[in-house]
Structures are given as structure tokens and as C-alpha cells.
């Protein structure tokens, strides 16, 4: 599903974000990316949905070579990749329902499809009763559920999560991880960059550790360190 071959990425000012990284992730896997701040976790994630372009090496995602993917095809790649973030990236003027519907609307899905899929996904994340609230009326955990609903409503092959529990307390994080686990069990490949030792140690899934842009550890059923 995802393959990196000797991928390097250097930012301006000689900041090496990723150095000669080679990783292969199978369909349906759940992978934690761990490492200190600045170790290249976020860059790893951003390379996968082509927010960044690698300087060298080859990246294959969902059968596409991202290096040779023309820019007008990038949106179609992203329709196969859901993304969630530490800061949720919800639209504060829209309701929960509208936030999720927006994700379908802007890729041109017809309204009858939206009317069917949005309530279903809100049911899945447990927010059916709060569909008409705006994000600032929700708790952090609920907001992250909305953002997961938006990322998953299109049934993507891959879910990328960049510190999704970074702003949440441990109890709330457990709920979010249960949800991501459930999504993973439905066949979606999940790649999650995280600092959250508790989450990684509880889940016991594959762990890839980065240090200054280098892959220093890759073990299945790993722990944080």
C-alpha cells in the first residue's frame, strides 16, 4: 500500500527531515511513527499525501509513484487518503454535519449520496445527536471524532494521523484510539505519527522510530521505546 525506497528530504537551511528512509507498509496495517520532535515524523506523513515532494528516492502510495505524479492528479490521490491532525482543522462556522458534508461536497459528490453517507459516518463516530452543533460547542475528543468522520466518510484506503491525541487527555485518547482501531479493522491502512507513549504501549502495533530523519527501529507489536 505504501512503499518508501531510500527517500530523503532536506529543507532550506540544511535541515534534514528524512535521510535514506526505506519502509514498506502493507494494506490493512496499523503503524505508529515515533521519535522526538524534529525527527521527521510529520515530514514522513506529509510526503505520503504529497504535501511535500521527496528530494530523492521513490515513494509509492496506493499504486502511484508520487515522484512522477502530475500535480493535477494529486487531488485524486488525496481522495484515497484521509487525514487527521492535532488541531482538528474543522471549520468553525459550519456545524458538525456541514463539516463532514463539506469533505464530500468539494469533491463533487451528489447531494443524495451526501445525505446518506454523512449520518452513517456520524453514527459510526458516535456524534449523531450532535450533528447540528458547531465545533466550539464540542469537547476536544468530540472535535477529533468529527475530523475522523470527515477523513473517513469517503472510505479512503489510507488514514494518516499526525499527533491525533496530542491535544487530548488520556481517557479521551483511549476513545479516539478505539475508533481508529475500528477503522483499521475495516481494512483501512492507518499511519499515525505520535508522541503519546501511553497510546503506543497499549496498542502494541508496528512501531517505526525516527531519529534525526533516520529510521532507527522498525518492529511489529512494538512499544514506544
Amino acid at each position: 500500500m505504501i512503499r518508501l525506497e531510500s527517500v530523503s528530504k532536506v529543507f532550506k537551511g540544511d535541515v534534514t527531515a528524512l535521510r535514506d528512509a526505506s519502509v514498506e507498509i502493507q494494506r490493512g496495517e496499523f503503524v505508529f511513527l515515533v521519535g522526538p520532535s524534529g525527527s521527521g515524523k510529520s515530514t514522513f506523513v506529509r510526503l505520503l499525501n504529497r504535501e511535500e515532494v521527496a528530494d530523492s528516492g521513490r515513494i509509492m502510495v496506493a499504486g502511484k509513484d508520487l515522484g512522477s505524479l502530475s500535480s493535477w492528479r494529486v487531488p485524486y490521490l488525496r481522495r484515497n487518503i484521509g487525514c487527521i491532525f492535532q488541531d482538528f482543522k474543522l471549520l468553525s462556522k459550519k456545524t458538525v454535519y456541514e463539516n463532514v458534508a463539506f469533505g464530500l461536497e468539494v469533491i463533487g459528490r451528489p447531494r443524495p449520496v451526501i445525505r446518506k453517507q454523512v449520518p452513517a459516518i456520524l453514527e459510526l463516530v458516535g456524534l449523531s445527536r450532535k450533528a447540528d452543533r458547531t465545533p466550539d460547542e464540542l469537547s476536544g475528543g468530540e472535535q477529533q471524532r468529527v475530523s475522523i468522520a470527515r477523513a473517513f466518510v469517503n472510505r479512503p484506503l489510507i488514514l494518516l494521523a499526525d499527533e491525533p491525541t496530542g491535544n487530548l487527555d488520556p481517557a479521551t485518547s483511549v476513545g479516539i484510539m478505539r475508533l481508529l482501531d475500528r477503522i483499521n479493522r475495516s481494512g483501512t491502512t492507518v499511519v499515525m505519527a505520535t508522541h503519546d507513549r501511553g497510546v503506543v504501549d497499549t496498542m502494541r502495533r508496528r512501531v517505526i522510530e525516527l531519529d534525526r530523519g533516520v529510521v532507527v527501529r522498525d518492529e511489529s507489536r512494538g512499544v514506544y521505546d
Binding site: 499525501n49 487525514c83 469533491i107 463533487g108
Partner: protein, 298 residues
């Protein structure tokens, strides 16, 4: 498709409304600049029509009677061909005169129907060797006494004034208009930039979930286009005001004896209006396309 159309319309309207004061500023600037462009075109056209017969150095015109004899005609030609005071001349026969009449009175079909090529006076348009006014007046006097000559019209000071005046006015207007068109493009660009800023988060999410660049772009381009189109629509009434008020000056001027009473026809004003709409819409769309592309390529 229909859902996308609805989406584009909704987003465009919301954005126009949210940005109301800048939107109005952009629209008004477009309106003012395009009315100057249009006025310049109309003044130019009006002057060209008013002085159509006196261009390229023609200083006076000898109109023959419609029923003049070949001998009378030959006598005139004899003078024209041999006189050192005449530099060159052109003969406008009945048919050519009729065709010109049709062009000048295009918006007065009843007038065109009332004449036939047969009743049109043929004429000689004459470029004298010496365009000095006194000399022209003397030549005109000589020709007017020839048999078969109906009337001699000279390029009076009035005509030269119209030409000078209209050239200057239309040039000044055109320069001002070009500057203002650039200003309005920049203002539209800015308005759209503000609109984009107000929706930065939305655009980020759109790109994240895989909206195409065109999908992101189109509402903004529509917004710019609407600025341009409404501005142009505001400019159109001003064209008709110019037609009625300013151009009546040419209409009333008593300088072209046989072809007096014409103006810029309504059809030409409508054509100009269409061009203004096209120009306004294009300027608006290009301005916003530039703004969006700059933003999207970050």
C-alpha cells in the same frame, strides 16, 4: 454536475456578500474606468463620422448637381487636372455617395429609404497644394461659380476644431481609462485575495480532502467576473448619456452641409456596450485567476 453548479453559485454569492465594501469599491472602479473607455471610443467614432468626408488632407468638396451634364463635369475635371493649385482629388460617384449615406445614417432607415443613388450628388474631394484657409476659400469661390456645381463645402475651422478636440479628448480619456482598468484589475485581485484570506481554512481543508484546483478556483473566478460584469453594466448607461449629450455637439454643428444631422448610431453604442461587458468580465476573471493561482501554488 448540477450539485457543483449550485455549490459554485452559493459560494460565490456568500463571498461577494461577506466582502461587501471591497466588492462595491471594485465594481465602482470597473464601472468608472469602463465608462471612460467607452466614452473615448464614442467620441472618436462621433468625430470620425462628423468629419468623414474631410480626411486625408481634403480641404474642400465640390458637389455637382445630380442632373449635371457630361460637359459640365468635363470642365471641372479639366480645371482639377491642370490647375497647379490642386494637389490631388477623388471623384465620388452617385453610387459611392449613396453607400456613404447609408453608413452615416445607418440608424435612420426611413431617411435611407427616402433617397436613391440617382438623386445623390456626385462630388470631388479636393486636396489643394496650399491648405491655407484664405487660399482654400478663394478656390472654393471659383468652383462654386462653375456651371453644374451645386455647392462647395470647405473644411472650416469648426471641422478642424472637432478633429483636434476629439483627438485630444479621446486620447486623454483613453490614457485615464487604461490606468483605471489596471487599477480596477488590481482592486479585483485584492478583493479576491481578501476573499481567499477569509476562506484560508476552507481552502486548506478542500485541498486536503482532494478537491481539484479548479474546484477551489472557480468560485473566486466567478466572483471576479461578477465584479467586472456588474461594473461594465454600470458603465453602459453612461454610454447612452454620452451619446445623447456630448455627441449632439457634432450633430448640431453646421459644418457638413449635405450630410448634417447624423450621430453615432445606437447600434454602435450597443456594440461598444457588449465589448465593455466582455472587457469587464475578462479583466475580473483574469485578476482573480492571478490571485487564486498565486495562493494555490504556495
Amino acid at each position: 454536475m448540477i450539485y457543483r453548479l449550485w455549490y459554485f453559485i452559493r459560494e460565490t454569492v456568500v463571498s461577494l456578500w461577506r466582502n461587501l465594501s471591497l466588492t462595491l469599491a471594485a465594481i465602482l472602479t470597473v464601472g468608472i474606468s469602463l465608462s471612460l473607455v467607452g466614452t473615448s471610443v464614442l467620441v472618436r467614432e462621433g468625430a470620425d463620422r462628423a468629419t468623414a468626408q474631410f480626411q486625408e488632407g481634403v480641404e474642400f468638396i465640390v458637389f455637382m448637381n445630380a442632373d449635371h451634364t457630361p460637359d459640365q463635369d468635363a470642365a471641372i475635371r479639366q480645371v482639377l487636372d491642370t490647375s497647379p493649385a490642386i494637389s490631388e482629388y477623388a471623384y465620388i460617384d452617385k453610387l459611392a455617395a449613396y453607400e456613404e449615406f447609408q453608413v452615416l445614417f445607418a440608424d435612420k432607415p426611413e431617411l435611407i429609404e427616402s433617397v436613391t443613388p440617382d438623386v445623390m450628388p456626385p462630388s470631388y474631394r479636393i486636396v489643394p497644394s496650399d491648405p491655407d484657409a484664405a487660399n482654400v476659400a478663394e478656390l472654393a469661390r471659383q468652383f462654386s461659380t462653375q456651371p453644374g456645381v451645386r455647392e462647395v463645402a470647405t473644411a472650416t475651422d469648426a471641422i478642424r476644431q472637432i478633429e483636434d478636440f476629439s483627438t485630444r479628448v479621446s486620447q486623454v480619456l483613453l490614457v485615464a481609462a487604461v490606468v483605471l482598468v489596471v487599477v480596477s484589475a488590481m482592486l479585483i485581485l485584492n478583493t479576491v485575495f481578501t476573499a481567499i484570506g477569509a476562506r484560508r481554512e476552507e481552502i486548506e481543508v478542500m485541498k486536503l480532502v482532494g478537491a481539484t484546483n479548479w474546484f477551489v478556483r472557480i468560485p473566486f473566478m466567478l466572483e471576479g467576473m461578477i465584479h467586472g460584469l456588474i461594473g461594465a453594466a454600470l458603465a453602459i448607461p453612461s454610454l447612452f448619456i454620452v451619446e445623447n449629450q456630448v455627441l449632439s455637439f457634432f450633430q448640431e454643428s453646421d459644418v457638413v452641409p449635405l450630410f448634417r444631422g447624423f450621430a453615432v448610431p445606437d447600434g454602435f453604442v450597443w456594440d461598444t456596450s457588449l465589448w465593455l461587458l466582455l472587457l469587464g468580465g475578462t479583466v475580473g476573471m483574469v485578476g482573480s485567476a492571478v490571485a487564486v493561482t498565486r495562493y494555490l501554488d504556495v
